[in-house]
Amino acid sequence: MDPLLKLDNVSSFIGPFHILQGVSLEVYPGEAIVILGRNGAGKTTTLRTIIGLVAASDGKIFLDNVDLTAMPPYHAVRQGIGFVPEDYGIFDALTVEENLLIAMWQQDQDTLDRRDHVLELFTDLKESYKRLASTLSGGQRQMLSIARALVNDNKVILIDEPSKGLAPIIVEKVRDTLLTFKQKKTIVLVEQNFEMACAVGDRYYIVTEGQTVLDGTIKELMDDEELQRKHLGFVTA
């Protein structure tokens, strides 16, 4: 089976800084992979490079055998990628409704059905539908960001640290949400919260200094405390 998303030795720069120095990964349809690594390792840049917000200077990026490498972001995303950024990327000057509308590529019945479905899933958003997004709490903003990635029939969803800055009870809710749509979607998750990563992920990649240095199943990672300590700096109970 061909990978749905493939990064082949991808490099990229932010300004003069060589951030990604050879990231390679493969994501197969229906699986959830987690990109792990210490702060500044290049996890977020990996996601931003996939969708072209950071230009790849070397290597290749394929989605469903379509070469995304040189595509501008708006074109790369339209190949079927939903993006949930670390800071949620919510537009404060827009209402919840408008934040969803702006993300919808079409207004056909299928898209409207998907929007209605996510509103059923995230009841807070339904209740705040006409309110300005600036009035939402951190958890609600995260839900809206995820909802936006789900209104189109995307092939893969990229999610950057969905638990960051959220209260533990909200993190649980986000985790449950990811587990719900994991059954239907292919996910690439960047996550520092080890518990969340283990709950959602099927496989992992570890990025260190802009390079993928290890990969395996989440179960292997959970069983290997030495690996966790060495590459992630985790101290697990």
């Binding site: 501008p72 972001p73 708006y74 993006f83 000057a93 827009l94 408008e98 702006i102 993300a103």
Partner: protein, 288 residues
């Protein structure tokens, strides 16, 4: 009471003209973050093109449409060739747009000559109404109506359409707009060209009011437009509308009741607002 009504109409008409110029400038600054000193030259070209076409066709509506189209096309060209490479670089924007202003002002002189070209109002709105001994210029009422229609149109565009949604979202995060699959560059070009078209419309409507077009008329109006957007709040469309009306009315009343103060009116207003509310009446951009 009669004087008050006449000054009110004159002030609102002036305000409407200033608004056409300031609204485009404000939207370009607010959404694109571009300090655009080509606005004055677009105003001039709008004036010249409208007179040129009016003299050829004798049709005022066609002349106005041609001026707006010329402004839009010039805006597209300016954005694509000169502005796009310097988004985010304010110093370069100022230098480049000032340079473009000089070049295109000289080009206007080259095409249409250095002397003012007389312009007349279209016959169907050249007259006056006399209501209870108050003389009301039909053209000034026309300007007020155009100003109101443009304000309603921009308000609808910004708040009720997907274009407006993208514009409001783009102010906060152009990258995130792109990450949702939207080509923000097309919207940027459209916004710049739309703002340029408004400036050209302002020029085309200004010329019949003052009776001639000349290459120096852009600079004063451009300065006035910048004063309006500082007064109203940088990047605020509502601020530019209110600021234009305030300046139009203040100048009209001051010039009637105390003419020596007229030339200082706008500067004094600006000073007052900058002292009491430095971010402008409706703005937050400066404070941010």
């Amino acid at each position: 009471m009669h004087i008050f009504l006449m000054l009110l109409i004159n002030g609102l008409a002036e305000g409407a003209l200033i608004f056409l110029m300031a609204a485009g400038l404000s939207i370009i600054l607010g959404l694109l973050g571009v300090v655009n000193f080509t606005h004055g030259v677009l105003f001039i070209w709008g004036g010249y093109v409208s007179i040129w076409i009016f003299n050829m066709t004798g049709s005022f509506p066609i002349a106005i449409i041609a001026a707006v189209a010329a402004g839009f096309i010039m805006g597209l060209i300016f954005e694509r060739l000169f502005i796009r490479p310097v988004y985010g670089n304010v110093t370069a924007q100022i230098l480049i747009t000032l340079g473009l202003g000089v070049v295109f002002t000289d080009m206007a002189r080259l095409f249409w000559g250095p002397n003012p070209i007389p312009a007349s109002r279209p016959e169907f709105m050249d007259g006056t109404w006399i209501i209870d001994s108050v003389i009301i210029s039909q053209y000034r009422i026309f300007l007020i109506i155009i100003g109101i229609l443009v304000a309603i149109g921009i308000n609808y565009l910004v708040n009720k359409t997907k274009v407006g949604m993208v514009m409001r979202a783009g102010i906060q995060s152009p990258d995130m707009v792109q990450a949702l699959g939207i080509n923000i560059k097309v919207y940027f070009a459209g916004v710049f060209a739309g703002g340029a078209a408004l400036a050209a419309l302002g020029g085309a409507l200004y010329v019949p009011l003052v009776g001639s077009v000349w290459s120096g008329m852009g600079i004063n109006n451009q300065i006035l437009a910048f004063i309006v957007i500082i007064l109203g709040g940088m990047g605020s469309f509502y601020g530019s509308a209110v600021g234009s009306i305030i300046i139009g009315l203040t100048v009209a009343f001051v010039s009637w009741f105390y003419p020596p103060l007229t030339v200082y009116t706008t500067v004094l207003l600006l000073l007052l607002v900058l002292t009491l509310k430095p971010e402008g009446l409706f703005g937050m951009a400066v404070r941010n």
